[in-house]
Amino acid sequence: MSALANPLMARLAEVRKSGDVAKIAEAIPYARWMRIAPENGTGELLTRMRYHDDLVGNTFLPAIHGGTLGAMLEMAAIFHLLWETDTETVPKIVNITVDYLRSARPVDVIACAKVTKQGRRMVNVYAEAWQDDRAKPVATANAHFLIKSDDAPPSL
């Protein structure tokens, strides 16, 4: 199957021409629902999860649900791989380990990602999420993705 048969890879090709990176997220239903989208930082791709009340996991503190932080770190890693590498398929996550460092307040969360090691089939990605102060991350993650299309596909 051609890479462009995938709506997400077709969208990516369009975005490479227009430069409007936020549009990458529009092809992913879950990213739209969660209001997670990439944006151009100064010289790097950042991913933002816009705060909305459905993200809350603890109404007493209040704090954002840990599962949503893991989810947005995973999306940040995927957007990074799509945008910054020449992957021809949607990266397929193999595993992810999320460390929760601080309670996340009910405001936007921003994340960056970097490739720690790129192999022919497997890539190791590190991602970091923060709110107001980048020096105080709320969560970090390490994840592995398969980036070759002929391997058995785990979920996205």
Partner: protein, 162 residues
């Protein structure tokens, strides 16, 4: 007086209220508690289009599974606490061993197998009904005695006997 935990349906209804319906993100995902007892919790996540990660295949994104596993592991911790304590996820590892089947509900089963003074240890599997054919495996640790007030879900271990 009968405890709400002696009757299975009442117990599930109670945990449904405190571990899904009153937690905005769990409610938004529509998490259903399907079993709970001391040291164990099981939750169901129904497939829906909004949760899809790959628009070509209809396979769920990793995110909803992460939230399901985190919630389910957290619930298993709550059943083990012998005194009310606030707690929070310290780390969570998820192995996605095969894609979830589009259209099918995902069931998570979590076990809290060890509780120390400061940390609770959990593991979980997610599947479509056959635990021998997992979609994902998780290992989560939780920090006990974190800041903030004890919430109702974080103090019910004292009441779960079976």
């Amino acid at each position: 007086m009968t405890s709400p935990f002696s009757d299975r349906d009442q117990r599930i209804a109670f945990f449904q209220q405190w571990f899904s319906d009153t937690i905005p993100h769990s409610k938004a995902l529509g998490l259903k508690i399907i079993a709970v007892r001391r040291g164990f919790g099981s939750m169901q996540l129904d497939w829906r289009e909004e949760l899809v990660g790959n628009p070509e295949t209809g396979v769920l994104a990793g995110g909803p599974l992460t939230a399901l596993m985190d919630s389910c592991c957290g619930m298993s911790v709550a059943t083990m606490l012998t005194e009310p304590k606030p707690f929070a996820t310290l780390d969570l590892r998820i192995d996605y061993v095969r894609p979830a089947t589009p259209g099918k509900a995902v069931i998570a089963e979590a076990e809290c197998y060890r509780v120390t003074h400061s940390v609770a240890f959990t593991r979980a599997f997610a599947h479509h009904g056959d635990p021998k054919d997992p979609i994902a495996a998780a290992a989560g640790t939780f920090m006990l005695g974190t800041k903030g007030e004890v919430t109702r879900p974080q103090s019910i271990g004292t009441e779960v006997k079976s």
